[in-house]
């Protein structure tokens, strides 16, 4: 029963607290480094290209198919109540409020977050980060900050693309394939979706998720054990922690935004 020993418990608690403190300090440093990062905008743009452009395919295709499925499922449920015209409203609201930001953040964690963690982790394992420190180059501002801010920029744009493509997908299935009246599809959507209350809050969500996912990816890479096994563990932890964090934050944000 060594795990019940007070010293073991104490050590575990102290280690967790130290991790949290380390994470919070790194997060504040990355926030404070916004000026430094954009003074060398080239580095940030390269990361937007790597994290954003290269995620566009998976996000776009997923959005299209989520839109297809929403169109089909929504139609079959709504037509039971004779209100298939509300299909546009259903598709748009579910995408803009929930599915757009959340699914994009989950895909982003899997597609871009893992790449970030593995890249930074391998830099650490190859002692490149230590070499930079030896040359008086701060790895946090040279390596971590551009990646962090690149991800924060890319995430809301990807979420917007996801929602827009999803609405087009819902339109393709609902209007083109099934034959819902296009006029009522769009007009119900436009009368029911508020540009600030729904679209704006969806954007706020995706910005928060962008901060959370990118930070977790960067942090796991930066604090991983400098071994092949450590990098693989850190990559796994990135996906698990980021996904759980996104779902938890989504609940809190939804409760704050839409329950009033």
């Amino acid at each position: 029963m060594t795990w019940l020993h007070p010293a073991t418990i104490g050590f575990a608690v102290r280690a967790r607290l130290a991790d949290m403190g380390h994470g919070a300090r790194l997060f504040l440093r990355l926030l404070a480094l916004v000026g430094t990062a954009f003074a060398r905008a080239r580095l940030v743009f390269d990361q937007v290209h790597f994290l954003g452009n290269l995620s566009l395919a998976i996000v776009g295709v997923s959005g299209l198919f989520v839109g297809f499925v929403l169109g089909l499922q929504g139609y079959y449920t709504l037509q039971r109540y004779g209100s298939a015209e509300a299909l546009g409203l259903l598709v748009a609201l579910s995408l803009v409020r929930e599915l757009g930001p959340v699914v994009t953040a989950l895909l982003f964690a899997g597609r871009a977050g893992t790449a970030l963690t593995a890249e930074i982790g391998l830099m650490k394992a190859g002692e490149q980060l230590s070499a930079m420190e030896m040359m008086a180059v701060d790895p946090v501002s040279r390596v971590l900050a551009p990646r962090f801010w690149g991800g924060v920029i890319a995430m809301p744009l990807l979420a917007a693309v996801f929602s827009a493509v999803g609405i087009v997908g819902g339109w393709l299935v609902g209007v083109v394939l099934i034959g819902v009246d296009p006029g009522s599809f769009w007009s119900q959507m436009q009368s029911g979706v508020d540009w600030w209350y729904d679209v704006g809050n969806g954007i706020v969500k995706s910005v928060v998720f962008g901060f959370a996912v990118t930070f977790i990816a960067v942090f796991e890479g930066y604090t991983c054990q400098a071994t092949p096994e450590g990098v693989s563990r850190a990559t796994t932890r990135t996906v698990v922690t980021a996904s759980l964090m996104v779902l938890g934050l989504d609940f809190i944000l939804t409760a704050m935004m839409f329950s009033i």
């Binding site: 905008a41 004779g82 436009q190 679209v199």
Partner: protein, 162 residues
């Protein structure tokens, strides 16, 4: 700062993202249908507003002529007080009547405005006096049953009184 071949693609990505946001705001949201013009504010008291919500449309002859600003409760008259922003430039007689209608069977509720015959027009701060509440299904059924019962049970009711 030197150029790189990524610039084009990053620029395109940002443009696609901005276009998607614009699409969401204009096509899915109702940014275009917002009226930024001047409005004048009138109030109307209803016995029951049903499911009317702020920002619902105010229509006359099917055309949107204003929007519901806010909905409150008047604890002097025990009625709902609905504040309406009417588009300035569209004038209605002072004795116009407002009623709460529903667009379609399951659609949202809106205020229908029918012009009266007065010489004077509604001005800012005025109150619309002629109002008709939303149709509440329970009341309708209740009245129907009551009428039926009254029709069928008049002798019985008389007997019970004795």
């Amino acid at each position: 700062m030197q150029k790189s071949k990524n610039d084009v693609w990053v620029g395109l990505f940002v443009l696609i993202g901005a276009a998607a946001l614009l699409f969401l705001a204009l096509q899915a949201g109702n940014l275009l249908s917002l009226t930024f013009g001047d409005t004048y504010r009138v109030t109307a008291n209803f016995d029951n507003i049903g499911g009317l919500k702020p920002r619902a449309a105010v229509r006359s002859a099917g055309v949107v002529v204003g929007r519901v600003e806010s909905i409150g409760f008047d604890d002097k008259r025990y009625q709902a007080r609905v504040v309406i922003d009417m588009q300035s430039g569209i004038n209605f007689p002072k004795d116009s009547s407002a009623k709460i209608l529903t667009s379609g069977l399951l659609g949202e509720q809106y205020i229908g405005l029918v012009a009266g015959a007065s010489e004077k027009n509604l001005a800012a701060g005025d109150t619309i006096n002629e109002t008709q509440s939303a149709l509440v299904l329970e009341n309708l059924i209740g009245r129907f049953l009551f009428d039926k019962a009254a029709e069928a049970g008049t002798p019985a009711a008389g007997a019970a009184k004795k």
